[in-house]
């Protein structure tokens, strides 16, 4: 290991920490979650209404509880989306890569609720 190797690794870690701090400081409490499947927006749900929604024809079940959103059930093999836990702040996202599904928190006033799925 030479000096420049330490510098390189140090720069990557420093960059990551700066990004992490930026993300933490720009996050606010979210107002609604947007569900995207295969890149297409399919639904928006308010975070202040406790409810359970069936997504993508039943592959994933989204639960909203006390301002937090989480996927409570999924049919994918690894269940990584369920394990990602609860989200509530703007920009936070739960991804279910096998089903090409994402749940993203958005801020501001809850937009008009359109339930298509």
């Amino acid at each position: 290991m030479k000096k420049k190797d330490f510098i390189l690794i140090g720069v990557i870690v420093a960059l990551a920490l700066i990004l992490l701090i930026c993300v933490k400081f720009t996050q606010k409490e979210g107002a609604c979650v947007e569900v995207k499947i295969d890149g297409t927006k399919v639904a928006t749900y308010p975070l202040n209404v406790n409810a359970t929604y069936t997504l993508n024809g039943g592959t994933n079940i989204l639960t909203i509880e006390d301002g937090y959103a989480y996927l409570s059930e999924a049919d994918c093999p690894d269940h990584l989306c369920v394990k990602q836990g609860k989200i509530s702040k703007t920009g936070q996202v739960i991804t279910c890569l096998p089903n090409k599904l994402t749940v993203t928190v958005y801020g501001g006033e809850p937009k008009d609720v359109d339930i298509i799925s």
Partner: protein, 165 residues
């Protein structure tokens, strides 16, 4: 291609596959974030990259990703892994050829690029830009994993006898 070289590459493809499998047995550091991995298969890939060359390392890496995805994953997981593997190999090759960085640095950058590649594919597939919020934590975990993998690859290279093809 000589038979001895073909056997050697086949052997290391198998080693990379076994390392992928061993990795799935390790308990996850955190379940809140997908994608944090040791990157153990990269030990075999880096060994081939240093001992034989980038073309052979690319072949072993891509064959490994395809076989492991077919065995333990899905078609989608193949797309994410390929995105990571190709970007990681490209950058590692360029660094090895053009710079004098240590193999630990190259392994770190390879690990980080693997994460970046996967995120780019996931971004393209889901068109959710917020996925990049995963990146800072993945950069740090990629550094830690890359250091260990780089050291392991170095030890392996010292211990495996050189073979002429």
């Amino acid at each position: 291609m000589k038979t001895s070289k073909m056997t050697f590459l086949g052997l290391f493809t198998a080693v990379a596959m076994i390392l992928s499998f061993v990795e799935t047995l390790l308990p996850p550091l955190t379940t809140a974030l997908p994608g944090i991995k040791m990157g153990l298969p990269n030990i075999a890939i880096m060994f081939i990259l240093y001992r034989i060359g980038w073309k052979e390392a690319s072949v072993v890496s891509i064959v490994r990703v395809i076989l492991v995805s077919l065995l333990f994953g899905s078609v989608m997981s193949m797309a994410y892994s390929l995105g990571g593997a190709i970007l990681s190999l490209l950058i590692m090759t360029l660094m090895q050829k053009l710079t004098s960085f240590n193999r630990v640095s190259i392994s770190v950058v390879g690990g980080v690029c693997h994460n970046i590649g996967q995120i780019l594919v996931a971004w393209a597939v889901t068109s959710t830009a917020q996925i990049v919020y995963y990146l800072p934590v993945l950069l740090i975990s990629g550094c830690a994993a890359g250091i260990l993998v780089g050291l392991a690859a170095g030890m392996l290279e010292k211990r495996v006898p050189k073979i002429k093809f």
